[in-house]
Amino acid sequence: MSYCRQEGKDQIVFLSKEDYDKPPIGPVPDENEDDDEPGLIMENGDINWNCPCLGGMATGPCGNEFREAFSCFHYSQDEQKGSDCYEQFKGMQECMQKFPSLYDNESGADMDAIAEEEAKARSQTTVDDGEKSGDNSVNEADDKSDAETKS
């Protein structure tokens, strides 16, 4: 059984499992509405270069080359997506080779994660919402050590 009590200005409600399980009565916020933070791919299909999921890829010393390659890949209409982006990827690779300590295996993993993000975002444009929270967790994990402290 739920109950409620008041301590000065503070109200304390203990909600029983039984009552919790009942659908909310009255107006409550729409849980499924998008948060104001876009993911990697914005609603209009453009790339959000400020997405924390990109880490430093788009802003680092090879940011420009990365953006050219990734844009090409993202907007590629080729049957085998991205196969028309050889030059751009070559340019990116060449730049990255100049910064071995920055673009090592670890950032290779980053690239995988970004590709995953991109794929997920693409599938989401049709499905949407369900995965949104997962999307955010990627963002937040990257941007702050917030999620990381939860062990």
Partner: protein
Amino acid sequence: MLASRCCRQFQRISPVLREFHTLRPNSHKILGKVIKIVLILVAIISFYHCKPISKAIRFSTIELESQASEDETSSSDADSSAPSEAQEDSQDDDAPESSLPNHVPYLIVGAGTAAFAAYRAIRSSEPKAKILLVGQEEHLPHMRPPLSKELWFSDDAELTKKLKFRTWNGKERSLFFEKEAFYCSPSDLMELENGGVAVVTGRKVIKLDVTNQTAYLDDGSEISYDKCLLSPGGRPRNLDIVFVAFLMFRISGSKKNMKVYQVFPEAGNMGKVLPEYLSKWTMEKVANEGVEILSKTSNCKIDCEYVFSFILFLQISVDHIIAAVGLEPNTELGKSAGLEIDANLGGFLVNSELEARSNIWVAGDAACFYDMKLGRRRVEHHDHAVVSGRLAGENMTGARKAYQHQSMFWSDLGPEVGYEAIGLVDSSLRTVGVFAKATSEDTPRAAQQAGVKGQKEEIAKEPEVVETKSIAESEDFGKGVVFYLKGKQVVGILLWNVFGKMPIARKIIKDGEKYENLSEVAKLFNLYDDDSKN
């Protein structure tokens, strides 16, 4: 009142404190030793206040954290190749002072979290931007929270030496936002076709000429800029008064076999944040972890070389003191720049776009900004540095966006309680806390309970007040959500052992809707779902 007017003393009996003070630069095992404590309570009447003396131990979160990072960098030099390389590189960079550019398009004063978020945002919207950071610290921009969380808790000493830590999902991660190679040399900055980010470490901007858009550094160099961000952070507060300590929880939870005292002026833990009942409940939890809590204790003096007469003379000898007393925003530049400082909250006054004047923005601890939803604010949290830094960066490249995305903060209070919070989380506000009921149904409580079902309306309008001691004592605030209210508007939300629900909390504050029945709204916060804590 009497108690707060009296000078309760922390007086060392042994010279250990002074030793610690001098040892500190070389010691990163702040928590390593078992703390021996002698506690003497003497009651003598007086209203005597000691003067703070210059040698009183003065350091707080920030200094401690930067200290820790310095310690650990220096200790890691021998073991890890990466930092020593970094060292050499930065020496190269430092060599000729004249290598600083005379002019940069983007100048960022400070090299902390807000600076990081800002340069990333600037380069995101302007891919070839040239950005110069000037920071007082000797280190490249790095995260602060792990310094008092993961790096303290870590059992992996080797990893800690390398200034790395494991994230919740086991991934190894560096304390530094970016590796050395990410940044270019300040002398190259203006030459690079694709621009870049350069960091000048160990330098301070001492004067800002806003009219001529020029910054003056402590080494005599002058740099003119097109756009400038002030993200200077803060400096440690003096330890005259003991404030509520976010940090202390993390310490008390970190090591066994150690006697820990926690001292603060509030009635309970996190007393300025948590409603009183939750604060007291938390205090019991912390006490159960073996922490000796001295609440309502203010005007503490440390290492005071006086002969005292006090009302309550509390004397504790300890090996180490960790002061988590917060910071003062760095606003010295305000004078030369002619920028207004908020009289109440401190920090540079900026508008909702974080702009102080034309081409000057402020982010992080030192920004006293206008939140169109919640009013004028200044926030000292990591996520705020990220959010405000990013917003300032976006606006510096012409976004003209107002502060809308609320930042959050989080804290873990030992093993059993963790929380996340957003908005105005101030214990002086009216609150409605909705908690999952503990599973054990005990009869004395059940007798006085009324179902929420039959009570729906009353909860919002006229709650049935059931104030029985036995109930209060047996209540377990294990999991819940607390709404902080101004009138009927939710202005802050605390997620108590509820995780992954920040987006909905953020939305509630953003929308500013008034909800009649918050226990219904609480159903959106998985109070009973299996622990979503990863």
